[in-house]
């Protein structure tokens, strides 16, 4: 049976349908569930095998991107979410979803304190990036895979962590922004589009089942979404990220 994926929708969520396509293509059985449906107990988080916090502008990014959606998680579902994460089931937060997981303290977890704040250039930006898979313990990626390519579309994606090098040594840096040749961006704009420390594009929790990332792998699941498919130089399909997650969910 295909693993059931719950895609959590808060008011202002908008890439929920994009990630549903990606999960479906990767072999999951996705369902978009509004936070009100969980609150009314019309759906139970524990019935699902995967949890996705998708991209968007939950509550209009008021009071900081992801903060109010994170508050919902903390206020209404703290125990359920903690249990879901602790059970080892795969959790993915993309863009706004990453902001939610960070602001709810689910990422990076461990003893780290981190946040996502305004891009170095001070504004929203949409462009394609290259992502190097880094962490051997993150269930959503495989190190040694070719760099993934997909767009970023955010204004508050600069990852800030007071002890970023330790994050690396604990295998919690999952994805880093890279140059087209596959070497780390080294802070260079626009390869690193937001000024994140150590080119961090995505981080995972210590056990590796929770991944959060700013870029949108769900927008590169078909060849023709790549900006250079007309030049026959499209590669870096990001569908593999979802396939890894689904494969892992099947083993859980």
């Amino acid at each position: 049976m295909n693993p059931k994926a719950l895609i959590l929708h808060a008011n202002g969520t908008n890439r929920d349908r994009d990630v549903a396509h990606a999960l479906q293509l990767a072999g999951a059985n996705p369902e978009i569930v509004h936070i009100n449906q969980l609150r009314r107990a019309e759906r139970q988080l524990a019935d699902y095998h995967m949890l996705i916090a998708p991209g968007g502008f939950s509550y209009g990014d008021a009071l900081g991107a992801g903060r109010l959606f994170a508050l919902d998680l903390q206020t209404f579902f703290a125990e359920q979410v903690t249990a879901f994460v602790a059970s080892g089931k795969p959790v993915l937060g993309i863009c706004n979803g990453f902001q939610v997981l960070v602001k709810a303290g689910i990422l990076p977890a461990g003893n780290f304190s981190a946040t996502l704040t305004h891009n170095q250039r001070g504004h929203f930006e949409c462009r394609w990036v290259h992502l190097l898979p880094q962490s051997s313990q993150c269930v959503w990626i495989r190190t040694g895979d070719a760099p993934l390519q997909c767009p970023v579309a955010h204004g508050e994606g600069r990852f800030v962590c007071e002890d970023a090098p330790a994050l690396a040594s604990q295998q919690q840096i999952a994805l880093r922004y890279a140059l087209p040749d596959g070497t780390p961006a080294n802070g260079q704009y626009p390869a690193n589009p937001n000024g994140s420390v150590l080119d961090i594009a995505g981080v995972c929790n210590p056990s590796g089942n929770v991944l959060g990332l700013m870029p949108h792998p769900e927008n590169h699941i078909w060849l023709h979404q790549h900006p250079n498919w007309t030049r026959a130089s499209a590669n870096g399909l990001a569908l593999s990220l979802f396939q890894n997650g689904v494969r892992y969910a099947n083993q859980c």
Binding site: T13, L25, H34, G60, T117, H123, E125, W222, T230
Partner: protein, 963 residues
């Protein structure tokens, strides 16, 4: 108790927002200050509630401050403002009371969630300046930090009072008009800003004479709204009498609708009658497209104006039960380097307007989760006081959704969903009396519309479910957007045949105290009105609850043909629907045809060095130079359907001719292209031919990326000055004639249109300044297989380049003529409609289907020189051009702007087939299809002609640094 919380960046954090502010300093003529810390920004929150200091501290930690990057202070008010350091100036900027503050609204909700409920809250910004004089800080505050329409500022600490608005008198005012003479009737129209002329006022007078009573203020407002130019298009429906004795029975009917009728495209499913035009897409789905303007609001409050402009056109899509899937934006501004001294009184600087407008579109489009995929920015000094903001929205729906609309039925409930009603948008044409409030400042501030995209996103999700909830059909009988005129227009239109009884006391408001007429006429954003059978209301309500969307039952459709509006026991409006919708007298307007341009056929001569320099000057012209900085602040990827992006090529910075979207992936490879044509320069020399160029440009851009020329629909948007001026109406008439001719030529039906007239500025000397006559044509074309769409970047060195279309010395209205200011060029003919273009486009489309086209880019502003340069830039490759094969005169070959032309890279192995196919098609069509090989792709990065060479690096540098 009232508290004040101050949130600031920790010292080790980069202060990124003021960095933007320092860039903006350029807009008031100051160069940015090197030291980043010279201006810092803090966030201020004012919180009122029965809370302890501990609770406020908890709330601030939990909701207001990011513990990693920020710190906060709080104190209870009133308390004296803190002393300042000697070298500092501090100002605070906040919204006027009553202006929509989305952050404050979310804060109220979240505070409740953490059990620290607030009774009121507000936000403000605090700016600290170091190294500036008081005078400088005052200038910055007035010009950059604060827009007095919605905000106010104060030194050091903003005095703030919780907003608890006073109730306005709710009783309708009776306005005696029956006994008035012509002059007095006009005075009533002027005083109450009804914008009704004498004939219209007299028609209203006769109506009330027959009724033997006087109108209420709300009735006059309702009539003024329903009869406004915005709602009924009086000018486009007027009888136009030309000075040469001809009479035109309505511009809309004679030219625009007539073109659609003559073309008889079976795939046009709805044209001109609904909120948006609708075309067939696949067996199961249809597409809609609508483009609106929001010019005047954008001039006075650029962010809010553009923000709500986009919000409004997205609701038009929802108004045909379509789900919005893409946005477009075309913007016209004055040159960004306009000196401040040249700004007329009360006019914002064009850079400030541009930044606000772009930020407004970014905010709404991105937050709605819609990709903004096509657009243009056009600079001309004529847009100084009247910028133009065109916002477009494309929708997709299963055919069952719109087919389920049967129109409102007697007994149906009138249901409003979405945002709450406030004093938004009450001032403009609807503001009925300045005496209505004792606190003019409050009402004036509150009257500006501020968008709330998250509320509109909720209504989108509701319509997504509700439009197909009954076996694929909607659970409502009719739906419409609540825009200009508020409920008075939306309900009035929906009840036009039936009549309705509306009760205002159920309306949910943003704050208490609204008078009945305010409830009825408010133009608050994010509202839709639906006609719902009483048995279906519960189900609709359930869907709304899921998305936290508020639903209000406003009354019912009565069937007696009377529009009756009541507030408690009071009846504030009781009007015959027939009079309301058919009582407006038709206007007769005089028009003077524009003179035939006096043409000159002698062209100037330029040396090779000069030609090279014009080439570079064109590339850095702001209308042609890269718009990447703007394009990237819009999300063009959300939805995952953007197959051909606005920026293409190796470095993803080449300007695509059009965007291609495939919204039904992965089950269906069919898609559509979105493009636009806009040529106000040509309008200045030949308004008739401006329409040719705009339509050809829109069509040719769509064809360039792979749209089927037999499946392109177009939209018209006319922005003009005052049509009461016969010469101005004459150019409008000529442009409409051109639209008819060109639409038939390409067999492209108009499916929707909109006009924005009276774009004029009255200066202090009493002189009127009209904008350049501006026609925007937007096109939507079906791409039969998106995998065959073509981008404009060169692909392979050695491939031949073919020029399609004929190059003539057509320089009238060209960008070269503009740059050189050479009368010989400006007086040359404006681009004509090429007879062969439709056949050329068909053949090109066929070649694309055959896989014979590697790259394709249209020739527009700046001619072949600019097209070739852009293709080199996008691929970081070079081009060798044989100009003599284009035209004997190099000047013409390089820079003429003849219509119907595209530069096409063909894989070497298909070159012979490609050329032969055009010859064969020409033989079949019995006229020559111009297709000539004029060059080839070079590996060497340069643009080379026999007269000059320009290295790619130089092309790039000029194109990326606009003048």
């Amino acid at each position: 108790m009232l508290f004040r919380v101050l949130v600031s960046q920790k010292h080790n954090q980069q202060n990124s927002l003021p960095l933007n502010l320092q860039k903006e300093l350029c807009t008031i003529g100051w160069s940015p200050i090197a030291n980043q810390q010279a201006i810092t920004r803090q966030q201020v929150y004012f919180l009122q509630g029965h809370l302890t200091a501990n609770q406020i501290e908890y709330l601030a930690q939990k909701l207001l401050c990011d513990p990693i990057t920020e710190q906060f202070l709080f104190k209870q008010l009133p308390e004296p403002a803190p002393p300042l350091n000697a070298d500092e100036w501090v100002v605070e900027v906040g919204y006027h009371a009553g202006v929509t503050d989305n952050t404050a609204n979310q804060l109220l909700r979240a505070a409740e969630q953490i059990n620290c409920p607030l009774t009121w809250c507000a936000t403000a910004q605090r700016y600290t300046f170091r190294g500036y004089t008081a005078q400088q800080v005052q200038t910055i505050s007035e010009k950059l930090l604060c827009n007095p329409i919605i905000q106010h500022w104060a030194w050091n600490q903003l005095p703030i009072q919780p907003y608890h608005p006073a109730a306005l008198p709710s009783a309708p005012e009776i306005v005696p008009i029956r006994a008035l003479d012509a002059e007095a009737l006009l005075a009533v129209s002027a005083q109450r800003r009804l914008s009704l002329d004498l004939a219209e006022m007299q028609a209203i007078q006769s109506y009330y004479l027959a009724l033997e009573r006087e109108p209420s203020d709300a009735e006059l407002e309702t009539l003024a709204q329903t009869w406004s130019e915005h709602c009924v298009h009086k000018t486009f429906k007027a009888l136009v009498q030309t000075t040469d004795g001809a009479a035109v029975d309505g511009l809309l009917k004679t030219y625009l609708r007539a073109a659609t009728q003559a073309i008889q495209a079976p795939w046009v499913l709805s044209a001109f009658v609904d909120n948006a035009g609708v075309i067939d897409f696949t067996e199961t789905h249809e597409l809609s497209f609508k483009v609106e303007t929001h010019n005047h609001p954008s001039a006075i409050e650029p962010f809010g104006g553009a923000n709500t402009g986009l919000g409004g056109v997205i609701r038009d899509t929802l108004g045909v039960s379509h789900i919005p899937i893409a946005c477009t934006d075309v913007l016209c501004f004055a040159p960004q380097n306009t000196p401040h001294a040249e700004l007329p009184a009360g006019v914002l600087h064009p850079q400030q307007i541009a930044q606000g407008v772009i930020a407004g579109i970014e905010d709404y489009g991105n937050k709605m989760g819609l990709p903004t995929v096509n657009g243009a920015i056009y600079y001309d000094a004529g847009y100084l006081a009247n910028p133009l903001v065109f916002c477009g929205s494309v929708g997709l729906a299963p055919k069952s959704a719109r087919n389920g609309h049967c129109g409102a039925q007697v007994g149906d409930r009138i249901i409003s969903i979405g945002g709450r009603t406030g004093r938004d948008g009450l001032r403009g044409a609807t503001f009925s009396s300045m005496e209505m409030t004792a606190d003019t400042g409050t009402v004036a501030g509150a009257s500006v519309q501020i968008g709330d995209p998250i509320t509109e996103k909720g209504t989108l999700e509701v319509i997504r479910l509700a439009s197909t909830a009954l076996q694929g059909a909607p659970i409502y009988h009719a739906i419409t957007d609540c825009g200009a005129g508020g409920y008075s227009s939306a309900v009035g239109e929906m009840a036009a045949e039936l009549g309705a009884v509306v009760t205002l006391e159920t309306i949910r408001t943003k704050y208490p105290g609204l008078a009945a007429w305010e409830l009825w006429l408010s133009e608050a954003q994010e509202r839709l009105v639906l006609a719902v059978a009483p048995t279906q209301v519960a189900q609709l309500s359930e869907i709304c609850n899921l998305y936290d969307v508020e639903l209000t039952d406003l009354g019912y459709f009565s069937g007696d043909g009377i529009l009756k509006v009541q507030h408690g026991q009071q009846i504030i409006v009781e009007l015959s629907c027939n009079f309301l919708h058919n009582g407006i007298p038709r206007r007769t307007l005089p028009a003077t045809r524009p003179p035939e341009p006096a043409l000159q056929d002698k062209l100037p001569h330029y040396s090779p060095t000069e030609l090279r320099e014009w080439c570079l000057a064109l590339l850095r012209h702001p209308n042609i130079a890269s718009k990447e900085n703007v394009v990237r602040v819009y999300d063009h990827e959300v939805g995952g359907a953007t197959v051909l992006k606005p920026l293409v090529g190796v470095a993803q910075d080449g300007p695509a001719d059009a965007a291609v979207l495939a919204p039904l992936l992965p089950t269906d490879w069919r898609g559509f292209a979105l493009s636009a044509g806009l040529n106000p320069q040509i309008g200045k020399v030949n308004p008739y031919r401006m329409a040719f160029s705009a339509i050809d440009e829109a069509v040719r851009n769509a064809v360039a990326v792979g749209a089927d020329p037999a499946r392109i629909a177009i939209l018209d948007n006319f922005c003009w000055g005052n049509p009461r001026n016969p010469e101005r109406l004459g150019t409008l008439l000529a442009t409409c004639e051109g639209c008819y001719t060109a639409a038939l030529h390409y067999a492209t039906p108009f499916i929707s249109g909109k006009d924005s007239l009276n774009n004029e500025y009255l200066d202090n000397q009493g002189n009127r300044h009209a904008i350049p006559d501006t026609l925007l044509i937007s096109a939507i074309g079906i791409v039969p297989d998106v995998r065959k769409s073509v981008s404009m970047d060169l692909k392979t060195p050695g491939n031949p380049l073919f020029l399609l279309g004929q190059t003539l010395p057509e320089f009238g209205g060209s960008h070269l003529a503009w740059l050189t200011a050479d009368p010989a060029l400006q007086n040359a003919p404006a681009p004509d409609l090429p007879a062969s273009a439709p056949a050329v486009y068909r053949q090109l489309h066929q070649a694309m289907q055959n896989g014979w086209v590697a790259a394709c880019h249209d020739l527009s502003e700046g001619g072949l020189a600019v097209t070739a340069a852009e293709m080199c830039i996008a691929a970081r490759l070079g081009i060798q051009l044989q100009l003599e094969r284009v035209h004997p005169e190099a000047l013409v070959a390089l820079f003429a702007e003849s219509n119907g032309r595209l530069l096409v890279e063909v894989p070497a192995e298909h070159a012979a087939q490609f050329a032969a196919s055009f010859d064969a098609a020409g033989n079949r069509a019995e006229h020559n299809l111009p297709c000539v090989q004029i060059g080839q792709v070079l590996a060497e990065p340069l643009l080379r002609t026999h007269l000059f060479e320009i290295p790619l690096a130089e092309l790039l540098a000029e194109w990326k640094t606009p003048a």
